[in-house]
């Protein structure tokens, strides 16, 4: 009965083979349309997969499968003693892609790098507002406009970045997709022709794949870049088949319509694992999901109350019901795959009896509270509503009445950061660059109160530790500081750390060379398919 589709697929492949004898096409079922093709302007992971990791490169990049920085367009770099000057030596002989719409005449040089930086923060740069509503969210989100003193050319293949203050996580930031290196020559040509908006529609970079075409909401096509400095890819064509429904993606993978898929439904994973033609790759995601109490509002200003509530919630049940097991219970605010993760920290035990007593001892009776549940599914929390219902049931057992509230997503993000928020909010974070600072200071630092610090928690001891770590470049020293900070965090319990989800990537057994990125990116450099 499956003959018809097999037949169709067979004819399809036959035709393709006839077209070009060696054409190897890799089809990836992706979860969403890219917002655009200029990685600087967007924040969506699907956009980075579609533009930054295919078409572009960065000065430094994350070594595949890790959060370690390795040389990319910059061959080497030096950091000055005061930690304020970074000098990058560019890789010589790097060619930009040749496409139907542009043929480069020169190789990568310092001008391209400076252009790629300046367009994102210099208001007088012609490219700063090249399309209506152009904005550089990540660039400003990572605090670069305030941090950068200047980016200057030393010679054709040397670039110097000068900072206003030392910032240890800078290198990791430079590995992030938003700071991809564009071709200034291409930009100049578009500008001269008055077609600047094409930069966002027909990208051109130095990366392993050359952009061919985008059919909105349907597919993106690339071919291997023959001039790639890292060597030509083993596959000839790369296709992103945009399929927003996870169940449908799974169906397509099983039917052989794609080779690899992103974000399967937790419910489908068991069945996909059972399929003899598929291989499932799993890795702990670089994320955390938490329930943030508002530590400014009594009785949640008392650590023992927060601790008691934490102990009353059976987090394993949440992992089972929401993730069908594809997650681990969290005890620290940073995920276990991140350096400086403190495994010695002792987790709160699920113990409703003790929790009840602790509450009584703290003088809290008939507690009524709100739990905020996010209205959307995120990788770190697939169904906040369901998780909130489970917590509601658990807390009822110790006499705490919970009301679940939710808001539209944009409202939720805004209202949940208000200092006078009524209730505890479920939220989470996916690491941007693998630096612990990106979790501990961004989410729990005193500066972030009223912003990313949803617990509104300002603890001097903790804040001093993470601030000091930020200004130190020695990794061993930083590790020690962060480990200590995690102990303080656990003692004070501003959050109930819920889970770290597992990133699950199902793929056909024919696929080889795919390495999962801890950052959740889908990078197809180096993949191959067996015939």
């Amino acid at each position: 009965m499956k003959k018809l589709s097999t037949l169709l697929a067979a004819t399809a492949i036959a035709t393709l083979m006839a077209g070009s004898a060696w054409s190897k096409t890799f089809v990836y079922c992706s979860e969403a349309s890219p917002e655009g093709f200029d990685p600087g302007m967007y924040t969506g992971g699907q956009t980075f997969d579609a533009a930054a990791h295919t078409v572009y490169n960065r000065l430094v990049e994350f070594k595949r499968g890790t959060t370690e920085i390795e040389p990319a367009l910059a061959e080497s770099w030096e950091i000055s003693a005061d930690g304020k000057e970074y000098t990058f030596k560019l890789r010589p002989g790097v060619k930009f892609q040749t496409t139907e719409y542009f043929t480069p005449t020169r190789e990568l040089n310092a001008d391209d790098v400076i252009f790629s930086f300046e367009r994102q923060y210099k208001a007088d740069n012609a490219w700063n507002k090249y399309v209506p509503g152009a904005s550089w969210e990540y660039f400003s989100g990572m605090g670069l406009p305030d941090l950068l003193e200047k980016v200057e050319k030393v010679d054709d293949l040397t670039v110097k970045i000068v900072l206003k203050r030392p910032e240890a996580p800078l290198l990791a930031n430079l590995g992030m997709p938003f700071i991809s290196i564009l071709s200034k020559e291409y930009a100049d040509k578009l500008q001269a022709e008055g077609k600047m908006e094409l930069m966002n529609q027909q990208p051109l970079g130095t990366g392993p794949f050359t952009f061919v075409a985008y059919q909105p909401d349907a597919a993106i096509r690339y071919k291997a870049n023959p001039d790639y400095w890292g060597g030509k890819q083993k596959i000839d064509d790369l296709v992103f088949a945009i399929t927003t429904d996870a169940a449908v993606r799974a169906q397509k993978l099983k039917a052989g319509e794609c080779h690899l898929m992103s974000y399967p439904n937790a419910a489908d994973v068991a069945e996909l694992k059972a399929d003899p033609n598929l291989h499932i790759s799993e890795q702990a995601g670089l994320n955390v999901s938490y329930l943030a109490y508002n530590t400014l509002v009594p009785p949640f200003d008392k650590a023992e109350v927060r601790k008691a509530l934490n102990m009353a919630v059976n987090r394993q049940a949440i992992v089972d019901a929401v993730f069908q097991g594809a997650a681990t219970v969290a005890k620290n605010p940073i995920p276990p795959t991140m350096w400086s993760y403190n495994d010695k920290v002792e987790d709160d035990k699920y113990d409703p009896e003790a929790a009840k007593k602790m509450l009584e001892d703290a003088g809290v009776k008939d507690l009524k509270m709100k739990i905020w549940a996010m209205p959307v599914a995120r990788p770190y929390m697939l169904n906040a509503r369901r998780a909130a219902e489970l917590m509601q049931a658990d807390l009822a057992k110790i006499g705490v009445t919970v009301e679940i509230v939710s808001y539209e997503w944009a409202e939720y993000l805004k209202l949940s950061s208000a200092k006078d928020r009524d209730g505890a909010a479920i939220l989470g974070w996916t690491g941007d660059n693998g630096d612990p600072d990106n979790f501990l200071d961004t989410l729990l630092g005193c500066d972030a109160v009223g912003g990313n610090n949803r617990a509104q928690w300002c603890n001097k001891e903790f804040d001093d530790l993470v601030t000091k770590a930020k200004e130190t470049s020695d990794v061993a020293e930083r590790t020690k500081l962060y480990e200590e900070a995690q102990i303080v965090f656990k003692k004070e319990a501003p959050w109930n750390t819920l889970d770290h989800s597992l990133a699950v990537v199902p793929m056909s057994k024919k696929v080889s060379g795919f390495v999962q990125s801890p950052l959740g990116d889908f990078v197809f450099e180096g993949v191959d398919i067996a015939e």
């Binding site: 429904d245 996870a246 169940a247 799974a250 169906q251 439904n265 937790a266 419910a267 489908d268 068991a270 069945e271 049940a317 089972d320 019901a321 209205p375 509503r385 369901r386 219902e389 489970l390 049931a393 939710s406 539209e408």
Partner: protein, 297 residues
């Protein structure tokens, strides 16, 4: 004998006559019967449902229906992802669907008739403005308009009902207006006007009762359409919010299990379908019974 009976019942007016024609349509009677059963189940959900619709039994997640392998008879139609009994949720869900239908029809009939009466009775500029506004509403696909409206008002059952009522409005306005316009020049209306009847009296007591038949038929259609639309909104995530056991919302939640648990997808949809068919059957019967033109044939 049957003929004799008909002859004696015919002169009786009102309900008897209506029932005579209505009951000739077997489908309509069936529809009515099914509808009454659903209504009964909805009203007495607390007694009928074998389980609570919200209690999660974490030992039986995604249990298949009772008659299949691995099923348990206590969970006749199986359980959902958090171990709630699907049958009980469907039974409680009937409450929401019927309630939605009722509220939407009431809202749109009352406001539609009022606006339609005003337009049809006063004519002139009032009429032009009203009808233009109705044209504007009709220029959008109803579901799209409802979707955007709910997005504006905030997702939820109440707002979904308001949105659906609004997109239904033009049908009632147009119908009432057309009926009023054809009635207002008739002799009996002119006669009562000459006799000194006031505007309100003319509108509501003289003209309106004579336009009721098409309105009732339209109301039935709107009832079933409202259930479908609310379910569609729920399915798109803009209607009732989980864990409300509204059928469309249940379907939306079930979507992720389409590969693994066919029962969580199948039964809520079936419940919607059966309810809507029953109401539409009744609607057909009502039309036959109330539409004088069809009565002749």
């Amino acid at each position: 004998m049957a003929v004799a009976e008909i002859k004696t019942t015919k002169p009786q007016t009102g309900f008897a006559e209506f029932w005579f024609y209505f009951s000739r349509n077997k489908g309509a009677v069936m529809g009515l019967a099914v509808f009454l059963i659903i209504l009964f189940v909805a009203v007495f959900a607390a007694f009928v449902a074998p389980h609570s619709p919200s209690i999660q039994n974490r030992d039986v997640l995604l249990l298949p229906p009772g008659w299949t392998q691995g099923g348990q008879w206590t969970y006749l139609l199986g359980t959902d992802a958090v171990g709630r009994d699907i049958l009980s949720r469907l039974i409680y869900g009937a409450r929401f669907s019927l309630f939605i239908g009722l509220v939407v029809v009431t809202l749109s009939v009352i406001s539609g008739v009022l606006v339609g009466l005003i337009a049809g009775y006063f004519r002139g500029r009032t009429d032009t403005i009203i009808m233009r506004v109705m044209d504007i509403i009709l220029a959008f696909p109803s579901l799209l308009l409802a979707l955007v409206l709910v997005a504006v008002l905030g997702p939820g059952l109440v707002n979904a009902m308001i949105a659906i009522s609004l997109v239904n409005l033009p049908h009632f306005v147009r119908l009432t207006r057309a009926a009023v316009m054809s009635e207002r020049t008739k002799d009996y209306v002119i006669a009562s006007r000459v006799a000194g009847a006031g505007t309100l009296r003319l509108m509501f007591l003289t003209i309106l009762p004579n336009c009721l038949a098409p309105l009732i038929v339209q109301a039935t259609l709107a009832f079933s359409a409202a259930i479908l639309d609310a379910a569609a909104l729920g399915f798109l995530g803009m209607g009732a919010q989980p864990p409300t056991p509204e059928w469309g919302t249940m379907l939306a939640e079930a979507r992720e299990f389409i590969q693994r648990a066919w029962w969580v997808v199948t039964f809520p949809g079936l419940a919607i379908l059966v309810t809507v068919i029953a109401i539409n059957l009744m609607g057909d019967g009502l039309r036959d019974a109330l539409d004088p033109k069809l009565k002749r044939s």
